[in-house]
Amino acid sequence: MTSVSATAVSTTRPGTHDDAVVGVVPDEVVRPADAGELVEVMRTAHAGARTVLAAGGRSKLGWAPAPRSVDLLVDTTGLDRVVEHTAGDLVVIAEAGVRLSVLQEQLAAAGQWLALDPPEPGATLGGILSANAAGPRRLRYGTVRDLLIGVTVVLADGTVAHAGGKVVKNVAGYDLGKLYTGAHGTLGVVASTTWRLHPVPAARRVVVLDLADPLAAGPLAIALARSTLTPTAVELRATIGGPASLTVVFEAIAESVTSQADAAVRLLGGGRQDDQLPEHFGERPRATDDLVLRLAFAPASLTAVLGALPAGTEVTASACTGIAHVVLPDPGALPALRAALLPHDGSAVVLSASPALRSALDHWGPLGDAVALMERVKDRFDPDRRLAPGRFVGGI
């Protein structure tokens, strides 16, 4: 085990307003240079009973509520090694601070990629895992839980714990990678990640259909899902009460994307074809002061969900998967929206909001009957509640 080095000490500095996590300024910021230093940092923090919050590219810190306290912000971007890429096994091991864009560049040289395309620039693997971020191609490839095959986490007391491995098929022991995914760092700090990879498709063909009414996207999405077409993404961009466009992306061998795009035009009753993705493809709607939400619901309920959104709401949706991102013009409409989502097994989670709004908002919405169990899990992993306190459901 690497002991704490002079480098680690020299990279500790006082927190500033630029380091604030949803308005909370950490006392100190430390940037461990490698995994060994991370362990040392965690042990020292544990010994000093300090609260710890890990951050990578800091592109999604708003996805969780404000922490109750941050004594130490652990900047994981120093853990930036791509440890192992075995092209023949379609597997890569990379540390938590590796930026997705950097990894993709390296994998592309072997004709491969990690099939995750969250749009946040600068995002690191650890942050993507912890926030469970995904993009349009979740339709074909799934999300973190479908692609992560191994993980190494440093627990609150500095214990190093692995789960999974470096083979895709593996059912030995509990699959703790699932538990850490989307946990916003409340169970441990991710040190290293192992992923299943996919070959980069040879060709792309895109069909874009303009819609006069966003709600028309619902039946089209169901028709696409029930067809034999295999799009990698079906994305809706719309303003409720205004115009909308549905983008269907085919990525495969050239013969396949051409014939599938033709078939999609027939199925949709129109649409223009292109080899390029439209501008802003996959971006989530952004707003500095407004309320941005991620909606999740039963996929076939898209029409009903769009119908429940107030006029003027900006929407992007992964139309066949039951995921949408919206800018809600009137935050007061949130409780009604949550109520409207319930029959569709739906939820609305805050991704960004102004500081004034945040303090008044219920970040997660209704939580079901497993919250007590989640608290018991948290209590086992972090009994003193020092990891990102307050950043998760039920005040976890």
Binding site: L155, A161, G165, V167, S256, G368, D379
Partner: protein, 500 residues
């Protein structure tokens, strides 16, 4: 109170306690659903791992969620361990009863559907047979992707407990990728709902941790399954090779070409011989290895890639490539593969089946090493496995009438698993750890890794009554809090990997 402490109880006390529990169970779920007759109990003394047998004290035949809730609550109150059981086809002893414990049988809970075609979902009870889901989904052009070879008899509840795989998980993933929600009876008898029809419910992905936990975190009484669209085209090819190396090389070349088949299965000469004798599948004569390769997807894509796969196989000196012309021929190709385990029983009085995983690129070396290891101890090993995933199923053949052979076979099977670990793989790809391989867990994971898994178990099951003695090498009390360990990790010391 925990199961591990129960051994200290005097036999008379134990009997009295069991009798009292059985009476309470009868009052709660009804007389005919509680078995205590020794002859009847013996039906449940083992699962598919038949060389491990334990007679339980009580069996409860649950017919609804409330029966499971009642049974688990009463077990919890009495401090008596329980084991959930579906069809009992598991190969690692996951449903092996605990002596003096209760077995809760779920195979009467068989409500299935209706299929929600627009959402591609269906809700099922745990006793539903895997293949029934696809049967019911077929009219909607949908299917349930996980297809373990036992799919005609295995239950979804068991699939969820073991995170079952199958031939097609190379492309489609495992049970965990196809179960979106579950109603779970926790080991204290309380009921929780994890996940649902929609994706990404706020909170920890407890469902992801629950699936594959082998009955140690609770009992699922209802599950929401994701269905997949039946592809436009499916093509299956049977390829004969004169050497195992060429077959293994073909697997690597296909993946390297950027092709992701639905399945790539491999059988060696001994497995072919057995399958041929059992089901007359007509595999290429004289083949030292065969691959069954299946591609699915849009017609044009399948056709183009199929031609490419054939070229790759021919370049690796395949002596026969046979393409299934219709569904019947495809079924025959698969019949040979899926019946291979049972078929081996016809050419050997007994065998151990293993379920190790290795990185795909190491297939040729590992297969050569297994063959060498078998020669050294004078035993035969048949290989029939999911080559695309690197998921080996070596069948170690032996004759238990020959003195010492069973022991030698067991040792060889164990050595093969250790070879999988040192190759960077896993001791189980789909069968689970169960009762059989728990002592190997310490070779694959560090003590800290296992302690961390125990944190989850203790959150779900602080009294350790849900399927104790499975998965983990040593039971631990949940009151103990593991501190950080110091010194070199055994895995690291053995040169098996860095801590990171």
């Amino acid at each position: 109170m925990t199961a591990t402490l129960d051994t200290a109880t005097a036999p008379g006390d134990q009997r009295a306690r069991t009798t009292a529990l059985a009476a309470r169970l009868r009052a709660a779920v009804g007389e005919p659903r509680v078995l205590t007759d020794h002859a009847q109990l013996r039906t449940y003394e083992c699962d598919g791992l038949a060389n491990f047998r334990v007679t339980p004290a009580v069996v409860v035949l649950a017919e609804c969620t409330q029966h499971v809730v009642d049974a688990v609550r009463l077990c919890s109150e009495a401090g008596v361990p329980f084991v959930a059981r579906g069809s009992g086809t598991g190969l690692s002893g996951g449903a092996l009863p605990v002596s003096d414990g209760v077995v809760i049988v779920l195979s009467r809970m068989r409500s299935l559907g209706p299929v929600d075609a627009d959402n591609a979902r269906v809700v099922v009870e745990p006793g539903v047979i895997n293949l029934w889901v696809t049967r019911d989904a077929a009219p909607y052009n949908l299917a349930y992707a996980p297809d373990p070879s036992s799919q005609q008899v295995c239950s979804i509840g068991g699939n969820v407990a073991e995170n079952a795989g199958g031939a097609h998980c190379l492309k489609y993933g495992f049970t965990v990728n196809h179960v979106l929600g579950a109603e779970v009876v926790l080991p204290d008898g309380s009921l929780v709902h994890l996940g649902g029809t929609a994706p990404e419910h706020p909170g920890y992905d407890l469902l992801g941790a629950f699936i594959g936990s082998e009955g140690t975190l609770g009992i699922a009484t209802s599950m929401t399954l994701r269905l997949v669209r039946v592809p436009e085209a499916v093509q299956t090819m049977l390829v004969g090779f004169s050497s195992v190396d060429d077959a293994a090389g073909t697997v690597s070349d296909i993946i390297a070409a950027g092709i992701l088949p639905a399945a790539i299965e491999m059988m060696d000469a001994l497995a072919i011989e057995a399958a041929e004798a059992a089901v007359h599948c007509g595999y290429p004569e004289g083949a030292v290895a065969v691959l069954v390769i299946e591609l699915d997807g849009p017609q044009v894509e399948v056709e183009a890639q199929f031609a490419q796969v054939e070229q790759i196989a021919l370049a690796r000196k395949a002596f026969e490539t046979r393409i299934a012309q219709d569904a019947a021929e495809r079924a025959l190709m698969w019949k040979g593969r899926k019946s291979a385990f049972a078929a081996v029983g016809r050419i050997s009085p007994a065998y151990f089946v293993q379920d190790g995983v290795i990185p795909r690129t190491q297939l040729p070396e590992v297969l050569r090493e297994i063959s060498r290891m078998a020669d050294v101890v004078g035993l035969r090993v048949a290989n029939v496995f999911h080559a695309g995933d690197g998921n080996l199923h070596p069948l170690v053949l032996f004759d238990d009438a020959v003195d010492g052979q069973a022991h030698a076979a067991e040792e060889l099977a164990g050595d093969i698993l250790e070879l999988c670990i040192t190759s960077g793989g896993s001791i189980t790809g789909e069968h689970g750890v169960g009762a059989e391989k728990r002592m190997k867990m310490g070779k694959q994971f560090t003590p800290e890794d296992l302690d961390t898994m125990q944190l989850v178990r203790c959150a779900f099951d602080p009294d350790g009554i849900a399927n104790p003695g499975k998965v983990f090498p040593t039971p631990r009390m949940c009151g103990e809090r593991p501190g950080p360990r110091t010194g070199e990790h055994p895995v690291q010391a053995a040169g098996l990997g860095e801590v990171f």
